[in-house]
Symmetry: C2
Subunit: 280 residues, 2 copies
């Protein structure tokens, strides 16, 4: 199969490596506006050629949209405008509500499969692409019943080959849960990094004392603005909802510390501890 | 050297393993009130014998206090009351101000070395003890000038053998920076776990979607109340100070999202990104 990947960054690049490693792509065409990234993607073997989007859409059997989420709905429409009844278009973006709404009445809606693989790191750009990504991580498919059977089979086959368990969700449901579980973690981490940078003026101390758990909570704060600003703004209402709750939870802890309420604190911590039953 | 370790949990137990592996302890005596933990510590080889505190203090050349921080100052005084001029007492606790003040006028102050190795995990109890802990992580020594030369040499020798770089700090300075860098990470993580548990009623969704960075920010939420409630309360003013700033940073992000202020968000994220220059 000839595959076009628009956006050869963390997700698009890792998917390129995975498709090649599993023998699922004979040729990979890449779309990459940033010239440095384009050169790097070629050097890293993420794509065989860099092509203009329209040209790639005409050539490829599978078109993957892996650009920032604010650009995906329009690219989806442009791709669907050009595909024939055997080509498949999928995205790998973190937001699904707007996308699914935009393409809902498109004459070629059936050729589209909305996918969100729940894998990522704090790095971005072609050099962030990793072998073996996606394995063991869920991939969410939204409105699979609106995709043509063969298009859905193609995408499901890919994620099965990548050993990513498939989960089905409504787009609205997806965006809500993604805000609750994934997006809030990034906001917390950005805020924590800025808190420490604000309070701790001596970088040496951050470095010396960081062993106490700081790295893991602040890891996501290395994530790029280009990826995350569109996610926060396109998922605004869900993100604000969970952010309000998070600030509330911090205020609860703050009041308990102010009042030396050791029993209340212990109870809140024991409740937080129950998260270990859910995640490993 | 015969070593007494009071508290054979994550830190005390890992230190026991390290001392044995490096041949620094010929015999390890343990103090452990919890009977299950005592049995487990023996089974895991963290101690050769479990003894009452007073008895262990009389026997050991080095006495290590590795109990929750609210119990350390009193244990320090009790140990110093009993040691002779060749014995050394050290602690490995996360709070130093109160401890150093309590022992400041003790006739045997010189026998004490206040140490805080900047290593930990989210687990607790003897089964949390890890081989190779401490290596490459800083250890903070507080008021080393108030320790006798030989006592300081003994403790410095241990951490050098463990490959933990030694950093010196005032107790107040230590508590402030520990709040900024370590304690706030735990509060954030507890609050995040409770936020998600509050908003996300379907555990299945947390599990499916957790790939998006959630595990790393919430990892510390598995940490025990027995360890952390005393830390938050004993370091109350510093913890509240940094917690106020953290809530403020979250509110800034919230307002920018509310106003669709993409430039402000991008700037805040780029500022948070600078943390990667400081931590690896």
């Amino acid at each position: 199969m000839k595959v076009l990947i628009a956006g050869l960054g963390l997700i698009g690049g890792s998917l390129a490596l995975a498709l090649r490693d599993r023998g699922l792509a004979q040729e990979i065409l890449g779309v990459e506006r940033n010239e440095e990234h384009a050169a790097e993607a070629l050097r890293l073997g993420l794509a065989d050629r860099i092509v203009p989007f329209d040209e790639g859409v005409t050539e490829a059997g599978l078109i993957v949209l892996a650009t920032p989420v604010d650009t995906i709905p329009l690219l989806a429409v442009k791709a669907l405008n050009r595909v024939n009844a055997r080509q498949v278009v999928m995205d790998v973006g973190s937001i699904k509500g707007e996308l699914c709404e935009v393409i809902s009445m498109h004459a070629n809606r059936g050729r589209f499969v909305a996918a969100h693989p729940m894998w990522g790191t704090e790095y971005s750009g072609p050099q962030a692409a990793r072998r073996g990504a996606f394995a063991g991580r869920s991939v969410v498919l939204c409105e699979p019943e609106r995709s043509d059977d063969d298009a859905l089979r193609c995408v499901e086959g890919i994620f099965r080959a990548l050993e990513a368990p498939i989960v089905r969700m409504d787009p609205e449901e997806h965006d809500l849960h993604a805000a609750y579980v994934s997006h809030i973690s990034h906001i917390t981490s950005f805020a924590l990094a800025n808190t420490v940078l604000e309070k701790e003026r001596e970088e040496r101390h951050i470095f010396d004392l960081a062993g106490g758990g700081f790295e893991s909570t602040v890891r996501l704060a290395k994530s790029s603005a280009a990826t995350w600003v569109p996610i926060f703004l396109r998922n605004k209402f869900n993100v604000l909802d969970v952010l309000r709750e998070h600030i509330h939870q911090l205020q609860l802890l703050r009041r308990m510390i102010e009042r030396d309420d050791s029993e209340g604190l212990a109870e809140a911590i024991r409740r937080a501890n129950t998260i270990q039953k859910i995640i490993r």
